[in-house]
């Protein structure tokens, strides 16, 4: 048995993590294909922002979508979902 001051008495029975930006590090380095938005084609519908599984796209009605490349893993879901075909996946390496 561990003593009462043991760290094992203080930790929860199962690991808990709280959401924080970049908790897994700079995941943008995982990317091989980079989504590039053509703002001339973009209709500012916001679907890319809605679909991004990593919440790396910010969106305002005025400025449209903006991708945070420090964390974007390059999954391509935004490009697949864009109804205006305004997002192109560009090879980085």
């Amino acid at each position: 048995m561990q003593s009462n001051t043991s760290i094992l008495k203080k930790i929860p029975p199962t690991p808990l993590s709280k959401p924080a930006k970049g908790a897994m590090g700079k995941t943008g380095t995982w990317r091989t294909l980079k989504p590039v938005i053509d703002l001339n084609k973009c209709t500012k519908c916001g679907l890319c922002w809605l679909y991004c599984p990593e919440a790396t796209i910010t969106f305002t009605k005025e400025e449209g979508p903006k991708i945070d490349y420090v964390y974007c893993k390059g999954c391509g879901i935004c490009a697949e979902e864009c109804p205006a075909k305004a997002i192109e996946m560009v090879r980085e390496f």
Partner: protein, 400 residues
């Protein structure tokens, strides 16, 4: 008020889930378990049970749904057999490591191929290392009582681990016996509502369970993966103590005791004892009575809990015995019966050990009659006389 009815092992499990006021049931039908969840859906449909029944497309999903429900604070229940249980295997690890105190009724059935729906303990024993507590019941009443007890143990803050209550296909599942159904009020007094360790429904303070943990302490994490595994091990060791406390309290309140980790029957002055799991443990006691009338100093041990394993408890009995017959309704291919290997490992620490005769019997539901158990016990008495143990594990009743 409780009432006495005559019903099957499967309905006994359903009545227990109802009496325990289970909040969520997610299950998928499979013979011979199906009538458990049929009865539960009937209870819910009639408005007699206020639970959410989640229909799923597989047992893997059934367990996943139970985990989600349990973590969110619900008392979760499911039931399965054989291939359903083995399909759940991944989620069994997930449930215990999430520390979700789910209780599951397992109706032991042989694994295919070839298809066989009869009793065999390989399905649940193959889940030995998933972190689940395993209880084996010998009667319909024990199925009912153990489900209630198991929630108490599983939900204890010092345990927080899931439990499966195993019973033999058809021998119990589809056989009617008298059953005292405890009322929800009586049970609630013994089993208070479940209180989850965390409130994950607090959306203002979101948390994730089971995210990545590194081999070593790293960053904000003061411990690594290994420490969480140690806590699970400690939890099951705590469960040994809790099972004893809970069964004692249950007896005081309801007047029944099916044993705690093991049940000892006439072993105090015995030279030989037969170890059994499940329904055959009941028949073993009958055989012991018959043989005692003829002067045999024989007793019976029911292995009621297989995990956590009752090593000290078995040692305590076995050190006084000359021989131990271990009857296994299972086989670990390439070695011997699964409970025999566990018992032998526990007895290794003894200075003076009894001879162990392991019988592989009843595989795929093959009938084991009282005269069969008698022959196994007689073989042990012969070996005490001759001192000759020819085979460590014998396939009993094999057509040759």
């Amino acid at each position: 008020m409780s009432k006495i009815i005559i019903t099957t092992g499967n309905y006994s499990a359903a009545y227990a889930a109802k009496a325990a006021k289970v909040d969520v049931v997610a299950a998928y039908p499979i013979t011979p378990q199906t009538s458990i969840i049929e009865k539960i859906s009937e209870f819910i449909e009639r408005g007699e049970m206020k639970a959410e029944y989640i229909r799923v497309e597989s047992e893997h999903s059934a367990m996943a749904a139970c985990i989600g429900a349990s973590v969110a604070g619900a008392r979760a229940f499911t039931a399965t057999s054989a291939h359903g249980l083995t399909l759940m295997h991944e989620m069994l690890h997930w449930a215990s490591a999430t520390r979700a105190p789910i209780v599951m009724a397992v109706v032991n059935r042989a694994m295919g191929p070839p298809w066989n729906i009869w009793s065999d303990h390989v399905d649940s024993l193959s889940q030995r290392d998933t972190g689940w507590m395993q209880f084996y019941a010998e009667s319909n009443q024990e199925i009912f009582d153990t489900i209630i007890q198991a929630y108490r143990v599983a939900e204890d803050p010092e345990v927080k681990m899931p439990a499966m209550i195993c019973s033999d296909a058809f021998i119990l599942s589809h056989t009617s016996q008298p059953l005292e159904v405890l009322s929800e009020e009586e049970v609630e007094d013994f089993l208070p509502p479940y209180e989850p360790p965390f409130d994950i429904t607090d959306v203002d303070h979101p948390v994730t369970h089971g995210n990545i943990v590194w081999p070593e302490p790293r960053g904000d994490a003061s411990v690594g993966y290994m420490e969480f595994r140690y806590l699970m091990h400690q939890a099951l060791l705590n469960a040994k103590r809790k099972i004893k406390e809970v069964t004692k309290e249950f007896e005081k309140k309801f007047g029944r005791n099916h044993g705690d980790l093991i049940e000892k029957y006439k072993v105090d002055d015995a030279e030989v004892a037969i170890v059994s799991m499940g329904a055959l443990a009941a028949q073993a006691k009958y055989v012991v009575d018959l043989m005692r009338e003829e002067g045999y100093r024989v007793g019976a041990i029911k292995l009621r809990v297989f995990r956590p394993f009752p090593d000290e408890e078995i040692r305590e009995v076995a050190k006084r015995l000359k021989a131990l017959v271990v009857a296994d309704r299972n086989i670990s291919y390439g070695y011997k019966g699964i409970s025999a290997t566990e018992i032998e490992s526990a007895l290794y620490q003894l200075e003076k050990r009894p001879i162990i005769l392991n019988f592989i019997m009843g595989i795929g539901g093959r009938d084991v009659k009282p005269e069969d158990q008698r022959k196994m016990i007689e073989a042990a008495f012969n070996i005490i006389e001759t001192g000759q143990l020819e085979k460590e594990a014998e396939w009993y009743g094999l057509v040759r």
